[in-house]
């Protein structure tokens, strides 16, 4: 339909692009439709919404990590002037059922209510909600709520959560074990028999942090007494999931829960599990007969929301040939879920989407155990569960290279899945769709001037600095097959995936697009407009994409939302489907109006449907819209055209084989290869990233500028995560980094110079050749860990064992390398 250019390659000192063919809009840096309102402060974020007579919600939160609640007295608070009312756990328990649990026993036995009931299990857990006339009064009143506690010992170290001596968080589940499963593929014994060496790593630790979106959670909830419907204005990023959790608990149909959002101030997965607070707001709006507004403050968010999964890897054994050929590994993964299973134990299977990382080893065994601790509940965080696992596989590569005296780059190239192996079926049945990892690695090393790195090392040494270079190569698996949830719990009735879009031609020919997604800055209005404009042959400016999400638009499906790197596949797949339907309808209408010309003879261009050989004979979209919507007398009866097309995109998935834990778990596999150069001050452990390259391949890019923005953002999260960001608790379960005082996120001065590279390997499995992207698998964390380890070579040779490497830890690795790093053994097989 539209003109297509040839593929091309461009190389500049700080950017390399190897491009697939592009169309008038697809593949172009179209300016974002969202920007005009956002740069003028005209966005509508949840805390911007006001209603007459609304009350402000403030939560009374636990100061203890673990305690029995022996008494709650809200009378003083309720009698305070300006207070509208309160809600306690007792009331919640009488008005709702516990949230549905995804886990099999023992996790299945948890009784999770929207407010704490009888016991608190982490500092910051909500106990009572107070509603008042102003924000300040609500907080004042919350200080008058009297709660009596009987403090208990806290479990803060997952490694001891199952000790007999430790208290149990949830009596209902009997112990702190929440979920466990064993995954094994290939023939481990054969692999270890074939190996020349076995590399044994005693313990690796992936720390707790999250993406701390700048806007925290919030909601404004209205209850319509006449219809019994709630309207929930919220920045929850996965309304489909929230509804599934809330409806059964609140004993109402899902259509009673209307989710509305316009602009969301960042999500990164951290805004998926706000359903408990939303339930509280719903109950209060009904109880108090007025709209209620809840804004979570930064310290509340840090203490209680969406920490990323903390994970330990114990007794890892790697089977390897002397030349660095990797055969397989076994390990025990211990996952710290925090106090509740709010999205867990899905983290126990999500990692399996990238089981072998980017490597060809075929023999893998992983014993997964998830335990509860007295910390904030975990939930998805950019790179959810795959990031932890990919960090682990990347650590293995660099540790093996270090121990066998091999070049980490050579080891990667030797073991990378090759372009000729694509599409590649992994040992557990996932299918990597496309990609040339070795080429990406070449681009990355080129960008940071790898050949000259030894000179740079000497130059740094002359300045008293230790220079190190490291690679992080990761996958961004997108478009989940929700059937994988059955590997966690065979009873679950989820599989496949879907997303919806509608494209219609309005009465005056206006093209209106509605999405089922809840964008948080990914530019969906723009990229959807690009796809529609190419298909309808009109200007992207003539495509009106509605901002935000409303589950009452007819564009909402079970998996609607924005999460897990899938918009470019599911969201745009739906948009393309709906636009194709509309294009076809416009042509059928055109063929009638233009005197029975065959549809094949028609084309869409310049906002008209016209005869290819006689462009003068054209029917403007405005006329099409008017005819169908307002001037349709005399149209043929069999003309089945509404110009209002709805399409549900459904990716081609099978239900996985639960016995073998085998099947394709995600549709697309974007890839990243990052390279970092660090300089360490050996006297203090202080270090800086002095050079950095991020190479990304997410298939065909609809809007390269937006893709690059996602790559940059994910890189910044990786750098923040590895250098500074950590949710650290003391032994009593106090969070030591409850706000931006001590939880340091990267600032403008902290950012290294960044070079980017792009390779486009279109996905054979998606309608646009696109792949989901934006998470980037934490490549920055892996690259910096590797670079630090490289810098320490010959200076104690510590093995980086933790994903969190603040200055103090780097100094410890310099000061006492043997105890500060991982303990590694190499034995002849």
């Amino acid at each position: 339909m539209s003109a297509t250019t040839d593929s091309s390659t461009t190389i500049a000192p700080d950017r390399v692009e190897i491009l697939a063919p592009r169309e008038p809009y697809k593949g172009q840096n179209v300016p974002r439709k969202e920007d005009r309102r956002l740069v003028q402060g005209q966005g509508v974020f949840v805390d911007d919404i006001k209603r007459h007579g609304m009350g402000y919600v403030h939560f009374v939160r636990s100061p203890y990590a673990h305690a029995h609640i022996t008494a709650i007295d809200v009378s003083k608070a309720e009698s305070m002037k300006g207070v509208y009312g309160t809600l306690t756990g007792e009331e919640v328990a009488s008005l709702t059922d516990p949230f549905f649990q995804l886990s099999t026993p023992p996790g299945a036995h948890l009784k999770d209510y929207a407010l704490a009931l009888g016991k608190v299990r982490y500092v910051g857990e909500a106990i009572v909600a107070v509603v008042a006339e102003t924000r300040e009064l609500a907080r004042d009143a919350s200080e008058l709520v009297e709660v009596e506690y009987e403090p208990l010992d806290a479990v803060t170290d997952a490694r001891h959560a199952l000790d007999e001596s430790k208290p149990v968080l949830h009596e209902d589940s009997g112990s702190n074990l929440m979920w466990e499963g064993v995954y094994e593929w290939g023939d481990l014994d054969a692999a270890f028999a074939e190996a020349d060496k076995v590399v044994k790593i005693d313990e690796l630790h992936f720390h707790r942090f999250n993406s701390t979106p700048l806007e925290t959670d919030g909601a404004l909830v209205e209850f319509n007494r006449g219809t019994g419907q709630w309207t929930i204005h919220t920045n929850n990023q996965f309304p489909g999931f929230a509804q599934i959790m809330m409806g059964p608990a609140m004993r109402c149909g899902l259509d009673k829960l209307r989710f509305v959002t316009q602009d969301i101030g960042g999500g990164f997965g951290n805004k998926i599990t706000s359903h408990p607070q939303l339930v509280v707001c719903c109950l209060l709006a009904r109880k108090l007969r007025r709209p209620v507004q809840w804004t979570e403050w930064r310290t509340d968010f840090h203490m209680s929301m969406s920490h990323g999964n903390e994970r330990w890897f114990h007794d890892t054994e790697v089977a390897v040939k002397s030349d660095g050929t990797l055969l397989g590994f076994r390990t025990k993964a211990l996952d710290d879920a925090g106090a509740w299973l709010r999205y867990e134990p899905l983290g126990g299977v999500i990692w399996a989407q990238v089981t072998p990382g980017m490597y060809r080893w075929r023999h893998i065994r992983l014993e997964f155990t998830q335990v509860a601790t007295n910390k904030a509940p975990v939930s998805p965080n950019r790179g959810y569960s795959r990031m932890q696992h990919l960090w682990f596989t990347e650590r293995i590569i660099d540790i093996v290279a270090h121990e066998l005296g091999l070049d980490p780059i050579e080891v990667r190239k030797r073991n990378y899945i090759r372009v000729e192996d694509m599409p590649y079926e992994t040992p557990n049945g996932c299918v990597y769709d496309s990609g040339d990892y070795a080429q990406m690695l070449d681009v990355a090393t080129e960008l940071i001037g790898w050949p000259g790195i030894e000179e740079k090392r000497l130059d740094a040494a002359a300045r008293g600095k230790l220079l190190g270079v490291g690679i992080g190569s990761t996958l961004d698996s997108g478009t989940n097959n929700f059937g994988q949830s059955r590997m966690i719990n065979p009873e679950l009735q989820f599989s496949g995936n879907n997303e919806v879009a509608t494209v219609k031609l309005d009465i005056f020919g206006e093209i209106v697009v509605t999405l089922g997604t809840t964008p948080q800055g990914q530019g969906h209005e723009t990229t959807a407009g690009q796809v529609v404009a190419d298909i309808l042959g009109c200007s992207v400016d003539d495509v009106h994409v509605r901002a935000g999400h409303d589950s009452y638009w007819n564009s909402h499906a079970g998996f609607s939302g924005t999460y897990a790197s899938q918009f470019a596949v599911t969201g745009l797949g739906a948009v393309k489907g709906a636009a194709d339907m509309l294009a076809e309808e416009i042509k059928r209408l055109g063929s009638v109006i233009l005197g029975g010309v065959p549809v094949e003879a028609l084309e869409l261009a310049e906002g008209t449907v016209r005869i290819k050989d006689n462009p003068e004979a054209a029917l403007p979209f405005m006329a099409c819209g008017a005819i169908i919507n307002a001037n349709n007398a005399g149209l043929p009866e069999d003309l089945d055209v509404t110009l209002n097309c709805r399409y549900v995109y459904r990716p081609p998935f099978e239900v996985p084989d639960l016995e073998r834990k085998f099947g394709n778990l995600t549709l697309t596999y974007a890839a990243q290869v990052h390279a970092a150069v660090v300089e360490i001050d050996p006297e203090t452990g202080y270090y800086e990233v002095v050079d950095y390259a991020a190479v990304d391949d997410c298939g065909t890019r609809i809007n390269p500028q937006i893709v690059e923005g996602q790559v940059m953002g994910a890189t910044a999260h990786g750098l923040g995560g590895v250098m500074h960001e950590i949710f650290e608790y003391d032994e009593d379960g106090n969070l030591l980094t409850p706000n931006f005082y001590d939880y340091h996120v990267p600032h403008a001065l902290d950012m290294p110079p960044l070079k980017t590279g792009f390779v486009e390997s279109p996905s054979p499995f998606t309608s646009l050749g696109t792949k989901g992207m934006g998470e980037g698998g934490g490549a920055g964390i892996h690259a910096v860990c590797a670079a630090i380890q490289d810098a320490l070579r010959g200076h104690g040779d510590a093995i980086v064992s933790d994903s969190s490497n603040p200055y103090r830890r780097v100094w410890e690795m310099l000061d006492h390398p043997d105890t500060a790093g991982a303990r590694v053994q190499v034995v002849d097989a």
Binding site: E136, H744, Y807
Partner: protein, 267 residues
């Protein structure tokens, strides 16, 4: 966010401010508010009344005396100190102020507020101690002058008592100063810091290792002597998420050496 209820007054003279402060137990002076208001947001502390000093021109300004002495009004902002020609008489002052927090904070935060809050991570308390600043404190009974060595009593606690105000900071002449810190991110919060001054004898003040700056006066600025002095100071630094006590101890030693070197290399 969401402060507890508080009363507010904006006096138009120091005398008036002192009157309010001494008549209202629980009244606190509000300088730039870049620490105090955050503490109030956390409701970790809640003054009953705030006495806003921003209207008091008497407390602003930087004067350079004929003998090179700098007299600084406590309500002078970091930004003013960074930009001031007079303040260049003591170059380190502007250099260190430029490292504090960010533009917005430097635009409102004041030298007096920095000293009176004495958060252990603040840059200026150790600097004032190494420089040997004199601090003038006014109360209804009159004025007294306290040396920086005696000024800092504890976290958020100084010689400025209830009903009193810090009214002047006086810095002797001198240029040979140094400051070194390891911070949380570039120009971030101090994890450990050291200030040094070799105008006459060597004075080193360590930050972040105790509730108040720790003054050391080694015989010489050579590395051995400085390290010896730090080791001999009987420090037991606080541990937190950014540094163990042991690491802070180590940083104090390294940073003291660096600050002393910077100071002695200056002319």
């Amino acid at each position: 966010m969401l402060l507890r209820e508080v009363e507010y007054a904006k006096p138009s003279s120091v005398a008036q401010a002192l009157a309010i402060l001494s008549e209202n137990d629980g009244a606190r002076a509000l300088a730039g508010g870049q620490t105090l208001i955050n503490v109030m947001k956390a409701r970790a502390a809640s003054p009953d009344a705030l006495v806003d000093l921003s209207g008091l021109e008497e407390l602003r300004g930087i004067e350079l005396g004929a003998d090179g002495t700098l007299s600084i009004g406590p309500m002078t902002t970091y930004t003013e100190l960074v930009g001031s020609a007079e303040a260049k008489a003591r170059p380190i002052l502007g250099e260190v102020c430029a490292q504090i927090a960010d533009v917005q904070v430097r635009n409102r935060g004041t030298i007096g507020g920095n000293l009176c809050s004495n958060d252990p991570t603040n840059h200026l308390p150790p600097l004032m101690v190494s420089i040997g600043a004199q601090l003038t404190i006014a109360g209804r009974g009159g004025e007294r002058v306290v040396s920086a060595d005696e000024f800092f009593l504890g976290v958020y606690l100084t010689a400025v008592g209830p009903g009193e105000l810090l009214t002047k900071i006086t810095l002797p002449a001198g240029k040979r100063d140094g400051f070194a810190a390891v911070t949380l991110g570039v120009d971030g919060t101090c994890i450990a810091s050291a200030a040094a001054s070799v105008n006459g004898s060597l004075r080193i003040a360590l930050g972040c290792v105790d509730a108040t700056p720790v003054l050391l006066q080694p015989a010489s600025a050579d590395e051995g002597a400085v390290r010896e002095a730090v080791r001999g100071a009987g420090l037991f630094p606080p541990a937190d998420v950014h540094a163990s006590s042991e690491y802070r101890m180590h940083l104090a030693e390294v940073l003291a050496v660096r600050a002393a070197r910077q100071a002695s290399e200056r002319s």
